[in-house]
Amino acid sequence: MAVQSQDRKTDAMVSVRGLGKTFGDKVAFADVSFEIGHGEVFGFLGPNGAGKTTTVRTLGTLIAPTSGSAVVAGLPLTPANGAKIRSRIAIVPESPGLYQRLSVRENLECFADLYGTSDPRERITRALTAVNLADRADDVSGALSKGLRQRVGLARALLADPAVLFLDEPTSGLDPAAAEEALSLIEGLRRDGVTIFLTTHRLDEAERLCDRVAILNTTLRMTGRPAELRDRLFARTLTVRVMSPLGAPDAVFTGVPGVDGWRFADGEYLLTVADVTVAAPAVTRALVSAGADVLSIGESRHSLQDVYLELIGDQS
């Protein structure tokens, strides 16, 4: 998997350098740089108003950047390339935006023609099957629930057979069951090797779906794999629970290989370690040697939420 991910990075589908967009004096986003590899699911996280949607619209050629450059699906982001870029990508906005008086099939027929899809009838059937809506093709779009509309939006995007799929807050406003269905569909696309740019402020779905994430709050705060971000921001910690407090903990933990320091909090010893695989066995031996009754030793894992809050929690 690691090798596969490395390969993905070498073949950039989206490459962004110092991109920015301002509306008068208001900065939507500034100096944003990142790359998305082929087949990668790239999460773009940030609070409301951070500039996520504006970034999607800019990369989708719907609005023009005011600074920086980008290459999207192999083409430089310029006004002259707008239509060509749009023919290689698909955008699913937060609100799927369906023609409400038209049926699901009629909506898709329109977009199949706009994308120049060959064999549209077959492709529409396949797209509807992919999002489990084959039996709702003749339903009027305006009568569908938000979750179903979101799925139609995904089916519409699949008609384009996009090199890059932009999903803007795909589970926003969905109930848990509908959100789970949407996430499962995205996981299916990921398995099929579709390159996905996913904006969200739901950290659980980013952690579940994304190979790498970028955290944005007008400017880019950090980019990397969720585990890398955790490691960069937080020291790795071993949590030790013993039956009764140690008499001389400093004597037990000082000098143990891999342990850089320790503290006691809420009945647990929290050990800062450089390498868990080295420290954990050594700590266990030291505790046993000191006659401690060990209840548990485990690594404390910081969540992506911890990373997010550390980076922008105070400002959001």
Binding site: L62, K84, I91, L102, F111, D113
Partner: protein, 238 residues
């Protein structure tokens, strides 16, 4: 320019219009006001007083309908997309602005012209059947029929681009209709002036007015294209 994309928008618009009661009722009701008065006049006029019909070619009054129907229908073209949140997805496809606009314009132009020709046919036919002889000869003289034939598409196209320009700038279809009607008033007034013989219809004047309308219609395309700003439409700013 992709014909397939233009037709995709055209077909989609037609499907939406057919299911939009407001559009249907507007198309059905708005011509009535322009048809009733000439029809009553033509049925009331005395055959011995046929010179009045040469003086007042009242059927030209009905040309106002050709100008007004597209304004009321075209008002929905961009505001309708904005209201449904469909602008972003559709503009996110490879479609070019001119393809999008042409598809929408045709979807207003074709039914508006078809309706106008149909109603002209019905009214003219009624006059021809019910008032044979001097009345129908005077009311349906070739110059009047030619004016109906030529001016209808010219006026309709003007109504289309005016309504689309306004529709791209406002968020409410009714506001677009009101502003569009206001802008079209001078054009509508022109047909009234012909109908009531304030302006005397001649071939030379018809050609001049037709050429002016054609020039305005051509310029209108540029106006609509200039008013069409993908970024502004997506962001919802005016």
């Amino acid at each position: 320019m992709s014909r397939r994309r233009v037709l995709a928008i055209f077909r989609k618009e037609m499907r939406e219009f057919r299911r939009n009661k407001q559009v249907i009722s507007t198309m059905a009701l708005s011509p009535i006001g322009f048809l009733v008065a000439p029809v009553i006049f033509l049925f009331a006029v005395n055959a011995s007083d046929v010179s009045t019909l040469y003086q007042y070619p009242v059927l030209l009054f009905t040309l106002a309908m050709a100008a007004l129907v597209p304004v009321t229908v075209g008002a929905y073209s961009i505001t309708g997309e904005r209201g449904q949140g469909t602008l972003e997805p559709v503009l996110g496809t490879p479609i070019l602005a001119r393809e999008f606009l042409l598809g929408k314009a045709l979807a207003v132009f074709v039914p508006a012209v078809a309706e106008s020709y149909l109603l002209f046919g019905v009214v003219d036919g009624l006059v021809w059947v019910s008032r044979p002889g001097a009345v129908s000869a005077a009311a349906l003289r070739p110059l009047v029929l030619l004016a109906q034939l030529v001016f209808t598409p010219l006026l309709a196209w003007m109504g289309v681009w005016i309504s689309m320009t306004i529709s791209a700038r406002v968020s409410d279809a009714r506001v677009a209709q009101q502003i569009g009607t206001l802008i079209m008033l001078p054009v509508i007034a022109l047909s009234v002036l012909f109908g009531f013989h304030v302006l005397h219809i001649t071939v030379a004047l018809g050609v001049t007015v037709g050429a002016a309308l054609a020039a305005l219609d051509a310029a209108g395309l540029l106006v609509v294209s200039a008013a069409f700003d993908r970024e502004r439409l997506v962001l919802g700013t005016r």
